[in-house]
């Protein structure tokens, strides 16, 4: 396996406080124009990650950019593709059939209404999901906005390396201790 697995954003439920700033940051990052204040926002907030609260846990859920993505396979019009190590939705091709919504095991896909232009009263219903803030300089907006550092951009190669190092260090230390004890 080469180091070209898709990256994704993961939430740590032990750190998440459920404030929803990630959702707002996501929605704001995907607006056509820069909006800073609530009052100047003349549109609904449409995030691409969703805070989930159960009695046991609180965390946002978003697209995992699966390697064998069920959404890609389920799409009858090839509107979902793998591109630049991400699973990307081509909204202009989407016909709103909801197959991807059914296929996604994480519930990471929503159907949203999109107006082709500001003046139009017509709208299309299309699938929407995390694009890892593709094209944004500072990486995913949700990660940057989280006040409790509960979100993390997971780079698979680095993650694996990091875990292997951690495991090796731990095992090495254990063996050293064991040897010392055994004399």
């Amino acid at each position: 396996m080469k180091n070209d697995l898709n990256a994704f954003v993961a939430a740590d439920p032990s750190k998440c406080i459920g404030c929803r700033v990630c959702e707002i940051a996501c929605a704001v990052a995907h607006l056509d124009k820069t909006v800073k204040t609530v009052g100047s926002l003349n549109a609904p907030l449409l995030p691409r990650l969703y805070l989930v609260k159960t009695p046991e846990t609180t965390m946002p859920v978003q697209c995992r950019h699966c390697e064998d993505a069920p959404c890609v396979k389920s799409c009858p019009v090839s509107a979902i593709n793998r591109r630049d190590n991400k699973i990307m939705m081509a909204e202009q091709r989407c016909i709103g059939c909801k197959s991807c919504l059914l296929a996604c095991p994480f519930g990471a896909i929503e159907l949203i209404a999109v107006c082709p232009d500001d003046r139009s009263r017509d709208y299309n219903v299309v699938a929407s999901k995390c694009d890892l803030c593709s094209g944004k300089l500072n990486g995913p907006a949700c990660v940057a906005a989280c006040p409790s550092q509960a979100l993390r951009y997971v780079n698979i190669a680095e993650e694996r390396k990091c875990r292997q190092l951690h495991a090796a260090t731990k095992a090495g230390n254990f063996i050293k201790e064991f040897r010392a004890r055994e004399g």
């Binding site: 459920g18 929803r20 909006v35 609530v38 100047s40 609260k53």
Partner: protein
């Protein structure tokens, strides 16, 4: 009113408790992950919880209470499209709208210094845009009969508060003296430190001084009676709504300020009237109660009242001209700043505090008899009124600091650009003392511009 001004919608609150962390008086109670409650006896209505809350009504979730009902409960106009957040304040919007729709109403409006450096943000302009001219034009176009300014009353406050400080210093009186412009601070002292109430300046806040002047002097100028005037204040502050309804605030014989709109509520009014804020011309506030100095305008930032007071008090005490009027030492963002001013005969020691929590150790020391200063300015909100609970709310916390800094910078820029920068040099202030008030701390100004703060009991 106090009990219902700031609220948390338990359908929208996720229990992240960031509001509890920002509350300066620990008034927000609840478990992590559960909807929070505001302890109304402790709440000073500063609205900082409203500013930080990001628990919003998601389009992807269903709520028992429909959006239009939530908007009615919040006193918001139906056409507003913005998302609704869990922490909110109820408002005076419907009241003011009804009065403006009545062709026969005689309305006078005042606008706080911090509003002109923030309102444009609600129309997509850059953070901290300075727009006094467009603001005056907008107030005229939404239908106010007289477009006056709180800044004028801030200058008036300096005349009275400066004179009061000089009197306490020279003739004796309770020292140190505390500023009384910030209603959340006054409420805090009344409820938590009743034994220190006597330290508060007896001056009313600029909002209340303006309200009184509108219904007395202003009414007299326009040939109307106090009961005909409907007086509205536009404020960056949520607690100003509470202040306006205090029973002692009726020196004109009527409630001096009938309604208070926050900066955000004024933006609703402008939008609802279909006014294109961007294309508004630059107009000025009406004479004479809309003429102000740079000292009046810096009331909007932490340290501003102190700087304005020193600009006047120095000249009152020393009879010398203060050349270096930009007192950089009192400016800044630290929670506590101190400066010592050489007045020749004495050294005036002053303290500036922003953020109520920073005031507590000072008050505790004062109770123990340890106080090494004469005059203290306290503003409840972190950067002063520019960061008030009624100001435009940032969508993202990362923009909060930038908005405070830019609003502050614009405030100082406005001061620097004004020709008159000391309250006692304001020609309209000179005129009002000559024609109407007499002298600072005189009989008439005492009756109209001062009050007695009292010890309040939560049950009363």
């Amino acid at each position: 009113m106090k009990h219902s001004l700031i609220k948390i919608d338990d359908e929208l609150c996720t229990g992240c408790r960031r509001c509890a962390a920002v509350c300066p008086v620990d008034a927000i109670e609840g478990k992590q992950g559960q909807p929070q409650m505001i302890h109304s006896d402790k709440c000073v209505m500063c609205g900082q919880c409203v500013q930080i809350c990001s628990g919003y009504a998601s389009l992807f979730e269903e709520y028992e209470t429909p959006r239009d009902q939530k908007m009615r409960e919040r006193h918001m106009p139906p056409a507003v499209n913005e998302p609704l957040f869990a922490a909110y304040h109820t408002g005076d919007y419907p009241k003011v709208k009804a009065v403006l729709d009545n062709q026969n109403a005689y309305t006078m409006v005042q606008c706080a210094p911090a509003v002109r450096v923030a309102i444009a943000e609600e129309f997509g302009l850059p953070l901290g845009s300075l727009v006094p001219g467009k603001l005056a034009a907008a107030l005229r176009r939404v239908g106010f009969s007289r477009v006056y300014d709180t800044n004028f009353a801030a200058d008036l406050t300096i005349m009275e508060e400066g004179a009061e400080l000089v009197q306490r210093l020279t003739k004796g009186g309770t020292l140190p003296m505390f500023t009384s412009c910030c209603p959340a601070w006054v409420t805090f002292i009344e409820t938590r430190y009743p034994e220190l109430v006597k330290h508060l300046s007896s001056c009313k806040s600029p909002q209340q001084m303006a309200g009184t002047m509108f219904k007395t002097y202003g009414a007299q100028l326009d040939g109307v009676t106090a009961d005909q005037v409907y007086s509205v204040a536009v404020m960056p502050c949520t607690c100003k709504k509470f202040e306006a309804e205090r029973p002692e605030m009726n020196s004109s014989g009527y409630q001096d300020v009938d309604a208070v709109l926050t900066t955000r509520e004024l933006a609703y009014l402008i939008k609802e009237a279909g006014i294109d804020f961007h294309s508004l011309p630059e107009e000025s506030f009406d004479n004479p109660l809309g003429i102000y100095s740079g000292a009046g305008t810096i009331f909007g930032v932490t340290g501003g009242v102190m700087e304005a007071a020193i600009r006047t008090a120095y000249e009152m005490i020393t009879s010398k001209k203060l050349d270096n009027i930009e007192l950089i030492q009192v400016r800044g963002s630290q929670g506590r700043r101190q400066i010592v001013l050489d007045l020749g005969t004495m050294k005036l020691k002053t303290v500036v505090v922003s953020g109520l929590k920073h005031a507590v150790p000072i008050l505790e020391n004062l109770k123990k008899g340890i106080a090494d200063f004469h005059f203290m300015e306290v503003m409840t909100c972190p950067a002063g009124c520019v960061s008030g609970g009624g100001q435009p709310k940032m969508l993202l916390p990362v923009d909060c600091l930038a908005s405070h800094q830019r609003r502050t910078a614009s405030t100082y820029q406005h001061d620097a650009e004004l020709l008159v920068r000391k309250s006692h040099d304001n020609p309209a202030i000179k005129a009002i003392y000559q024609e109407f008030l007499g002298e600072p701390l005189g009989h008439k100004s005492h009756k109209l511009l001062h009050t007695h703060y009292h010890v309040s009991h939560p049950d009363h």
